[in-house]
Symmetry: C2
Subunit: 479 residues, 2 copies
């Protein structure tokens, strides 16, 4: 906490140790604390406020598209989890099992949901009768549990917060359209609001969600050149519907199965924000989700009228922006460091000379650019500066990705390029054989991230076996 006059403690430089830099930011920007259960995080108020802004923004996008929120139980009976074979095979090894209620042993053990397809299916089987009941466009915000061996704040934890959309449709076409629509919502949210450029693509068959016919993902490249899967959208066909006996009477009065999707994003996005935009001074937050968009810092605060002027600015801006006035007795220098660590996009400084000149100084976090602004146009200037932060962050992240995207035609080229230029996305052709996919990873260290919707012909043959290529694939090391 901001208790004393010393400057904010420095964090490990990202170039020295990226992993330690990441952990330092999580702790020093007051995003998280550890609990006594390994891999179960405490998300502190400043971190949780980012999540609340993410939620608010995504939730309104979901609702605008007709989705409704529901609340499913957190427990899944073992027999219910077992109903869809691929699904249980994928999740059973990593679930937490409840075996006792109070002092009594349960007759059937319950897992804490790792995802809720099975619960939604059971419910849909109860409530879907007729084509008039379709589509069902449900979503829930909740936490899920996956008993991971290695954990890292936000990126991989045993319990994490997320949303899971689960929808049912009369036709395969409609369900496929929903899958792609939600992928696009995620992509747009990342690019516009989080200022994170993403690649939209399909997962290879070996990397699909347990039980899905097709899995789509958005993939982002972090500052260190590693890839982050930032959101997924699945098309299930009628596989679960058959396993769970979900049927409806169609317009021709025939009993048929509906078609299903699910899609989700999680607190992992906060990890993505840190690793895309952060720097050696700390966190850098995109304005759309920043808990504080504008921090106001009085300079020479002991001089007459300065605190009052700073308060006046705060009151004036509060209707339009998320504003914090720091009128504590810490020095301006300490405050600058503190709010840089916390990634506040825009800082306003106001001192006696500014007041006299009817102006203030605006500093943007990501590039430390100073602008002197007349108080007459303050709202417009702040709005313009916030947009400049978003645009600047996006451009910087895109430039990093472009610099670190390598088109390769052979395995040797991949190895050489990664050795020369560091981690990044490799774009290379693939024949579609899972053996080649595995071999690329074993030999070069980069796994398939996705088959991008936006294809390009790097060469005509598979980077591995030399047979005719089917797809261009993004390869990378993944978080």
């Amino acid at each position: 906490m901001a208790n004393d006059k010393k400057l904010v403690e420095a964090i490990t430089s990202m170039d020295v140790d990226f992993a330690q830099w990441y952990t330092d930011i999580c702790k020093k920007a007051d995003l998280i604390d550890y609990s006594s259960v390994k891999g179960c995080l405490i998300i502190r108020p400043y971190g949780y406020a980012i999540w609340e802004n993410i939620q608010k923004n995504l939730d309104s996008r979901f609702k605008a598209l007709g989705h409704e929120n529901v609340c499913m139980p957190m427990f899944i009976p073992e027999s219910l989890l077992n109903k869809e074979k691929d699904h249980v095979a994928g999740f059973a090894p990593e679930v937490a099992w409840v075996t006792h209620g109070g002092s009594e042993k349960l007759t059937e053990r319950l897992c804490v949901r790792p995802t809720s397809e099975t619960l939604f299916c059971e419910h849909y089987a109860n409530i879907i009768r007729s084509y008039r009941d379709l589509p069902k466009l449900y979503n829930q915000w909740c936490s899920v549990v996956r008993w991971e061996k290695t954990t890292r704040p936000f990126l991989r934890s045993r319990e994490f917060l997320w949303q899971e959309g689960h929808t049912m449709h009369a036709t395969a076409e409609e369900a496929r359209a929903e899958t792609v629509q939600m992928l696009n919502v995620y992509a747009d949210f990342h690019e516009q609001d989080l200022a994170i450029p993403v690649i939209k693509g399909a997962k290879t068959p070996s990397d699909k969600f347990a039980g899905a016919e097709d899995t789509y993902a958005i993939e982002a490249l972090m500052h260190d050149g590693k890839a982050l899967q930032a959101g997924t959208s699945h098309y299930f066909g009628d596989g679960f519907a058959k396993a769970f006996d979900i049927t409806y009477t169609d317009k021709e009065n025939k009993l048929v199965h509906p078609f299903q999707t699910s899609w989700g994003v999680s607190t992992r996005m906060i990890g993505g924000i840190i690793m895309t935009h952060g720097d050696d001074n700390g966190l850098v937050l995109p304005p759309a989700v920043a808990p504080i968009q504008v921090v106001i810092i009085p300079v020479a605060a002991h001089k007459e009228g300065v605190i009052e002027a700073a308060k006046g600015l705060a009151d004036r801006l509060r209707g339009d922006f998320r504003v914090k006035l720091d009128d504590s007795d810490n020095s301006p220098g300490w405050k600058y460091s503190e709010y840089e660590m916390k990634g506040v996009p825009v800082r306003i400084e106001i001192g006696p000379r500014d007041i006299e000149a009817n102006q203030c100084v605006i500093v943007t976090r990501h590039d430390r650019e100073k602008t002197i602004v007349s108080l007459d146009n303050l709202e417009a200037a702040v709005r313009e500066r916030l947009q400049a932060v978003r645009d600047g962050l996006y451009a910087k992240a895109l430039a990093n990705r472009e610099k670190r995207t390598y088109d390769c035609k052979t395995m040797d080229e991949i190895t050489a390029k990664l050795a020369e230029s560091g981690d990044g996305f490799v774009r290379a052709m693939w024949c579609g054989d899972p053996e080649c996919e595995d071999k690329v990873k074993e030999t070069t260290g980069v796994g398939s991230r996705c088959i991008p919707l936006d294809q390009a012909q790097i060469s005509d043959t598979c980077v591995c076996c030399g047979k005719p290529a089917k797809h261009m694939v993004y390869w990378g090391k993944a978080y």
Copy 2:
């Protein structure tokens, strides 16, 4: 779902079987569905939308008072739960235990949080160092699990949604003030927004929260004369702080313990809404939390211009109110029944003659009063009608409570009054002895609900033993 032309199925009358009437509403108004885990509810979109409105409203009240949201893990290691003796004794018999992660047996079993005092204390021990770190005013929205034997939708379930505030203060006075402040927030929310009159009071020592020095509650009287504890606020003193070794350096540089509170309300409030305001036509929702405040129903919809006029009204009102237009081909009569079942506070009917006369008909759900309103003043009229619903619901609930509140001086009087007038609140004096408290319950069937903050002297002696009375107590049968 609203699939066919038949009128909405009737529900059991509340006078015939109140418990069945309650369950019928939960199901027929599409609030809930059952899952395959006993006591774990599915909250359907219409029910969850009520909760979202409750959340939004309370959350902004909490934040306006300086509270911040956080997210704690859902698991508590057994050793952590065991740290405060009274607390563990109260909760251990009813927690769900996780014993396995994947295929591995855990070295220490974890309970799914029944409440999070222990988790907050562990965190506070980490982050509170100095008086400058106080107060800490944290809250979280989450679900908790208590392995109840008998369960009922919303009123008592094994998993339920709630918020839990947990605050730490430098002084006992400040913590006590917080406890009472939050009790008042809950009371005000119930009375203003849920239109449910409540009694504010302290729980008797035998009824306090496990580990608390004082527990306050708001108690509401349901339509059937039974009491519902609708929210609680606890003062912990420094008991948990001592058990968890939470200390801070005060202004005199001494190491001392802080003082603590917690407070919570849950989806139980939805049960309270149903049982306070519902009637034989279904749910009746207070406008502040109704997912649909205004439903617009075209009459003689096949006539030219009617659908368009109804759409026009919907578009016009949507900026100010939560509006639904039902232009489906169900009959107006079917629609009236459907939205009465769902408790929509205000219905607007518009037909060809209304259009001609530049008017519409507004019907309020709770009293079926019809008002003919000029379209020129529509917004104001809707606003006035919604306020009339809230005021009408509150007045009706208050009249029910007053009719069913009995001042009694002897045990015989209690028995006779309950036999004559039915269940309700009994106001009677108490000497403070837990034996008398138990005996009143055994003999008359009503237990102590609370010692109201607003005391009255019904007589000078304990209703049970005849010794000098210390408190007036509200007694009742409880949900």
